[in-house]
């Protein structure tokens, strides 16, 4: 629901990341990591990104989203596993003291610019 706000932030960060000597370069791709448990709908984010980048240095740029699986670790037995559903109970020891190692990412990894 807040994808437009996120898209605006992505554009801000991407623009600020273009080195001064490449100020006129066109951004071709923005690489993003989105955890499967982040409250983001990739399709909606791509749509918002497309709309707000029109007539900017990012027009036509692809928003590439790498989805990151939810991985948890049991603090009792150190077992690590990938979750297929929201069950935060250790499958090895039935422990409940579990930390999320990944799955909440919402990170810009890199941008790719056109090289003259």
């Amino acid at each position: 629901m807040h994808e437009m706000g996120l898209a605006l932030q992505i554009v801000e960060i991407a623009k600020a990341s273009i080195p001064a000597q490449l100020a006129d370069a066109r951004v071709q791709r923005v690489n993003l990591k989105v955890g499967k448990m982040a409250a983001v709908v990739p399709e909606s984010l791509r749509f918002c990104f497309e709309v707000i980048t029109r007539s900017t240095a990012l027009e036509g740029a692809e928003l590439f989203i790498e989805e990151v699986p939810v991985v948890a670790r049991c603090r009792a037995c150190d077992h690590e596993w990938t979750l297929n559903g929201p069950v935060f109970r250790c499958p090895a020891c039935d422990g409940v003291n579990v930390e999320m190692i990944s799955g909440r990412e919402l990170d810009i990894v890199s941008i790719e610019v056109e090289k003259d």
Partner: protein
């Protein structure tokens, strides 16, 4: 040519939230972020909670809604300082962001408060993603909603520190499978306390208020 960036999309919000947290620490005030879907009884729960916290704990409230000041008007009757935030001024946002809280907090005299409760916009998705500088998060769920709601919105139930299962006075009239609802919450966040209550009748409210008082005591000097 690829240029490494490695930045969180919510960097700006996270930085602002960290600043809020520092500010709240300097004011020696505990901040609770209360979230839920619309209609779960969050405002009634808050009204009753405020009544039970007084006079031991001095409270202040920030209420977020897209429109209207209805909730603030209701809460103001409890005699507690209340600031209403209407997010339509911020584009009709579905959540309260850290910069909105920073601004709202300026309208409160936090030197006179031990506990600041933020009633977030009714929504189980977006508020879970936005840190506002709070110390604890609570989610209100009511028995008139589906038992599987926690499974549909797992992030919310994962990031909260307490869950309130509200409107239990209605259970005799519903086909609600309470055991299933509790199990659904527990599998997402096994260690989180769940308080079953009816804000309307007041039944079951005391353990929740005690939990909250204890949390406040642990932070403030």
């Amino acid at each position: 040519m690829e240029i490494k960036v490695v930045r969180k999309v919510l960097d700006v919000n996270d930085t602002m939230a960290a600043r809020n947290r520092e500010f709240f620490r300097s004011k020696n005030v505990f901040v609770l972020n209360m979230m839920s879907s619309p209609g779960s009884g969050k405002t009634t729960t808050l009204e009753k909670t405020l009544a039970l916290l007084a006079p031991d704990v001095r409270c202040a409230v920030i209420v977020g809604d897209v429109c209207t000041t209805n909730d603030a008007d209701r809460l103001a009757r409890s005699g507690v300082p209340v600031v209403q935030v209407n997010t339509d001024a911020f584009g009709g946002d579905c959540h309260l962001a850290a910069h909105v809280i920073e601004k709202a907090a300026m309208d409160l005299d936090l030197d006179q408060a031990d506990l600041l409760i933020v009633e977030n916009v009714g929504n189980l998705v977006c508020p879970a993603e936005f840190d506002i500088g709070e110390d604890a998060r609570a989610v209100v769920l009511s028995v008139t909603e589906g038992e599987d709601k926690p499974l549909k919105y797992p992030l919310m139930f994962r990031v909260c520190d307490a869950a309130l299962l509200n409107k239990t006075d209605l259970l005799p009239h519903l086909d609600y499978d309470k055991a299933a609802a509790l199990e659904n919450i527990r599998q997402i966040h096994p260690e989180m306390p769940i308080f079953e209550m009816s804000a309307r009748t007041g039944e079951g409210l005391a353990p929740w208020v005690e939990w909250l008082k204890d949390q406040v005591k642990r932070k403030i000097r």
